[in-house]
């Protein structure tokens, strides 16, 4: 279906499915609103009748807890944003979901783990943390760029021009393969990053935020700025935008479409590699499934921000990160759902479904390749 998911704007809902969808939307929005209201009510006064009705055992959050959640959400969201760039750019140019992009991110985290452990063995990790960090970032970006480019060359390029689900299925296969290759080569156990210095681990005395989170946000912001400059102000970036706009016309204008697409994959891979290192710094542990959930969440982030939109990917990442970190406690807990932290991932998926249900074009609107646009 070319026009994709198109809400009917004229007249009353036509089919049963439309009516059901409307009910579902109202229900979802209502649930969120009631949860929020209950949360606010119990923040004002725990013995509030409304809050009691919604969940008798609710405890609410203190200001510090809330801030902690938001900050960790922002840090993770910045990471999601970096991964989302890869999804968004590839979708913007080729019009398919590169399902294996999450695995590229996982490879980045793995590379970082291996390199940093080797550095720690050599004693460099402790003595020169910033220097080694820059080193592992560079190594990981190179590895991930290579992986992404090889992936494009081997699996996706021969499929250019085939029906849109074919490359998607292929990318699922690639993702499956990379995940299991990681198991057979590196073993199925979770692997730890070496210990980081105190200033990264502990909360900063002045602003009460962990150094690692500040680091992640700063790195993400800087790389986002660089990428924005590359795409908006260099010739290669212009070529990317042109190919995204209309590959055929771009080719007629003398742009090497193949090389541009490779560049898109390379940039996406490099960003995923960077995000992998950030994951390592935030969680200090990596396993072969690391790429799956962040990948899905990053894709949601790309959709939230509007596919094909760089700033949108970052904004989407931040909102998904904050939503998944605050959402369960803000909305589900006041509604009386127990064990909300287990449902964290379910909430992330629910956000994705909700976004596609309510606003599939994202906040800033999609920028799709010419033939997918209608």
């Amino acid at each position: 279906m070319r026009q994709g998911w198109a809400p009917r704007r004229t007249g009353a809902p036509r089919t049963g499915v439309d009516q059901f969808l409307t009910v579902l939307r109202v229900f979802a929005v209502g649930l969120v609103l009631i949860g929020l209201a209950a949360f606010i009510a119990q923040e004002i006064n725990t013995d509030n009748a409304f809050a009691r009705w919604a969940n008798p055992d609710a405890t609410g959050l203190t200001g510090a807890q809330f801030r902690g959640l938001v900050v960790s959400g922002i840090a993770q969201g910045a990471m999601y944003g970096l991964i989302a760039l890869g999804y968004s750019m590839v979708y913007g140019v080729l019009g398919f979901i590169n399902f294996a992009h999450g695995e590229v991110f996982m490879m980045g985290a793995m590379t970082g783990m291996i390199t940093s452990n080797k550095l720690a063995d050599a004693g460099l990790w402790e003595s020169n943390f910033i220097g080694s960090l820059i080193f592992i970032v560079i190594v990981s970006m190179i590895v991930c760029t290579l992986v992404a480019v090889i992936m494009e060359r081997v699996a996706y390029r021969p499929l250019r021009g085939s029906p849109r689900l074919i490359p998607l299925i292929t990318s699922i296969g690639v993702s499956f393969f990379i995940q299991n290759a990681s198991i057979v080569l590196l073993g199925p156990a979770a692997k730890a990053y070496p210990d980081v210095p105190d200033w990264v681990k502990d909360k900063h005395t002045f602003i009460q935020i962990e150094g690692s989170r500040i680091l992640v946000v700063v790195v993400a912001a800087v790389s986002m700025g660089v990428l924005w400059y590359l795409v908006e102000h260099t010739k290669g970036g212009k070529a990317m935008r042109a190919v995204a706009e209309d590959a055929e016309i771009a080719a007629l204008m003398g742009i090497n479409v193949n090389r541009t697409i490779v560049k898109v994959f390379a940039v996406g891979g490099a960003m995923a590699g960077l995000a992998g290192i950030l994951w390592g710094i935030l969680f200090r542990s990596v396993i072969h499934t690391t790429g799956f959930l962040p990948g899905i969440k990053a894709f949601s982030a790309a959709v939230v921000g509007g596919i094909g939109h760089l700033g949108g990917a970052m904004a989407g990442g931040l909102s998904i990160g904050v939503a998944e970190s605050v959402g369960p406690l803000l909305i589900l807990e006041p509604l009386g759902v127990s064990g909300v932290s287990q449902l964290r991932d379910a909430v992330a998926f629910a956000v994705l479904i909700g976004v596609l249900l309510l606003r599939p074009a994202g906040i800033f609107g999609e920028r799709l390749p010419a033939e997918d646009r209608t």
Partner: protein
């Protein structure tokens, strides 16, 4: 409808070869291609070696004492590389014998480069210790590569082996089609006999034919090399004698029409059914267990085939329906289920299960059905994961037992006559067989019904289908629900067969494996899907179920992933494709052929006019 990027010049890679000057046989281009293919082979070799496949599979002997599965995994790459290079080296304008020498030499060189990867690895293994990141960097691997000798030996021997096997691969093309078929049949016969060893031994015991298998197989597994030779010779002779007979028979059947055709089909189906009903009587527990597992996956794959194959909806969360079917069957029949335990008889419970799963299918399907195909895939994946997380959560553990699951589920009782539990795999198999028959019949009828045609129209082009007056939303939703119901059958059987359900049985992985089965077999083709399930699940095994090659359990998911990519690249229509699907996927080629022949293929009412496709 699928007007994405036009293929750039050179984008198609190997298939778009620039025209070569016929008078210059060995070109720099050939060399470059040869070295590139060899290098890819070398990387693949090193990857396979480091994945621990050779060491782990070394125990499984194929031909005793010559060949084990472990070494086979190392030999296959140079063979394939040599074969491929032999194929790519142009023979136009060359005399026949020169071309032949080229292919063999090219294959040998390519194989040697690929084998060189292992030589390099052997040297590295001897001199460096990379155990830290690479878990399989072991002395065992070094020993295996060197056949127990010094490293120097490994370096030389792998270059030689690579060259020899590569030359074989390149030379295979030289044989005439008849000889080649005989050779392939021989290889398949020996390989098949080795892979099917547990099955054959088991059946032979049931039929009191141990004397035969004792002669065929060695005591500790693997075919005796004498028997292997005999088997190869026998099958080769059969292949030469029977050449063309099968094709003739098939052509003969295809020519039949009307009542005769129906009768032949009926006879074929009856014969298959008879074999499947009689076979388990002679088989032991393991074989029956295997058959039951395969049947379960056939059932699942047939359900997914309706959704993916017929209606073209890529549902990545199909496991959700399997899970809902299992859990509702468990809750309805088990006395131990936490909240409600009506302890219904299984068949009554099945009806309720079908209704519940159908409703869940409707509920999941309705919001996603309007989405673009790829968004739909991701969202169904999300639903699949949400369903599992909900079953797992403490929130509803009062209903579904959380991570403890539901245990002590009774066997499936049929009219109070028998009870089918996992302890008796033969009965399970018969139950599964019955449901498979239902599912096959339903899919077969659906495919030929008005609804089936509507599905296929939607799959081909939704906009056109809508213009033809098909209510696309309802039709797709129906596909979703039918798929869900078929999935719930296997769910219900699974719960009562295993006797317990845990959330960990319903990982997204299961969806992916079913998807691989459907795609490998051929989307939209019932026979293909059955064959795919039998081959993949039967030989390699399901997500948790062991197959005939139990040694592969660590690697099967890796192979599934690679297989999915390879299928999409090489044969997107699957192993046994449905004719219509093939036409869709190769529409442009078909049209090109028609155009070259000077005719435009519209006689089947399916092919579009070339002008129309060019414009879209």
């Amino acid at each position: 409808m699928t007007a994405t990027l036009p293929p750039e010049t050179g984008a198609a890679g190997a298939s778009a070869e620039p025209p070569l000057a016929a008078s210059r046989p060995a070109l720099a281009q050939d060399w470059r291609r040869l070295v590139r293919m060899g290098a890819v082979g070398a990387v693949a070799q090193v990857f396979i070696a480091l994945s621990n496949m050779p060491v782990r599979l070394d125990e499984r002997v194929i031909v005793k004492p010559v060949l084990s599965l472990g070494y086979l995994t190392l030999l296959i790459v140079p063979f394939a590389a040599g074969h491929r290079v032999g194929h790519q080296i142009k023979r136009e304008g060359m005399p026949q014998h020169a071309a032949g020498a080229h292919e063999v030499a090219g294959g040998a060189a390519c194989g040697a480069v690929a084998g060189g990867g292992l030589s390099l690895l052997a040297v590295l293994l001897a001199n460096f210790d990379l155990r830290e990141p690479l878990v399989n960097w072991s002395p065992m691997l070094a020993e295996l590569l060197a056949f127990g000798n010094a490293t120097r030996f490994a370096v030389v021997i792998w270059l030689l082996i690579g060259a020899a096997v590569g030359a074989l691969g390149g030379g295979l093309r030289l044989l005439g089609p008849r000889t080649r078929r005989a050779v392939v049949t021989m290889a398949l016969a020996v390989g098949g006999a080795a892979v099917l060893e547990p099955l054959v031994v088991d059946l032979a015991e049931g039929m009191r034919l141990e004397a035969l298998t004792d002669r065929l197989y060695a005591r500790r597994g693997g075919i005796n090399w004498t028997s292997a030779l005999g088997l190869a010779a026998g099958s080769g002779i059969l292949a030469v004698l029977g050449r063309g007979r099968i094709q003739q028979a098939r052509a003969h059947i295809a020519e039949l029409e009307g009542a005769q055709r129906t009768r032949t089909n009926g006879l074929l189906i009856l014969a298959t059914a008879a074999v499947l009903i009689v076979l388990p009587l002679f088989a032991g527990k393991l074989t029956n267990e295997l058959l039951a597992n395969v049947g379960l996956f056939v059932l699942l794959a047939l359900g997914l085939n309706v959704v993916v194959g017929l209606a073209g909806i890529l549902d990545l969360g199909y496991v959700a329906f399997f899970a809902v079917g299992s859990y509702s069957a468990a809750v309805l029949t088990a006395a131990t289920s936490p909240r409600i335990n009506p302890e219904l008889p299984w068949l009554v419970a099945l009806i309720v299960v079908v209704i519940i799963t159908g409703l869940v299918g409707l509920f999941i399907g309705a919001p996603v059905i309007r989405m673009r195909g790829d968004y739909l895939a991701i969202v169904t994946l999300g639903f699949g994961e949400i369903i599992r997380l909900i079953f797992l959560s403490d929130w509803l553990s009062g209903w579904f037992g959380g991570s403890q699951g539901i245990t002590k589920i009774p066997g499936a009782g049929i009219f109070g006559l028998t009870s089918v539990a996992g302890t008796d795999p033969r009965r399970v198999f018969y139950l599964v067989l019955a449901f498979c028959a239902i599912a096959i019949y339903v899919s077969w009828r659906l495919e030929r019904s008005r609804l089936g045609r509507a599905w296929m129209a939607v799959r081909e082009d939704e906009t056109v289908a809508e213009a033809m007056g098909i209510n696309t939303v309802n039709v797709k939703l129906l596909a979703f629900v039918v798929g869900a119901i078929l999935g719930s059958f296997s769910g219900a059987i699974f719960a009562n067969k295993v006797g317990s359900v845990f959330p960990s049985s319903f990982l997204i992985l299961v969806s992916m494996v079913i998807l691989v089965v459907v795609i490998f077999g051929g989307m939209g083709s019932i026979i293909g899907v059955i064959a795919g399930a039998a081959l993949l699940i039967g030989v390699l095994g399901g997500p948790k179920q062991p197959g005939l090659l139990q040694e592969f359990s660590e690697f099967k998911l890796l192979i599934y992933g690679a297989l999915l990519v390879w299928m999409m690249l090489a044969r997107p229509e699957g192993l046994i494709p449905s004719a219509r699907r093939t036409r869709e996927l190769h529409q442009e080629e078909f049209l090109q052929d028609a155009w070259l022949r000077g005719e435009v293929d519209t006689d089947d009412g399916n092919g579009a006019e070339p002008e129309a496709t060019e414009r879209s």
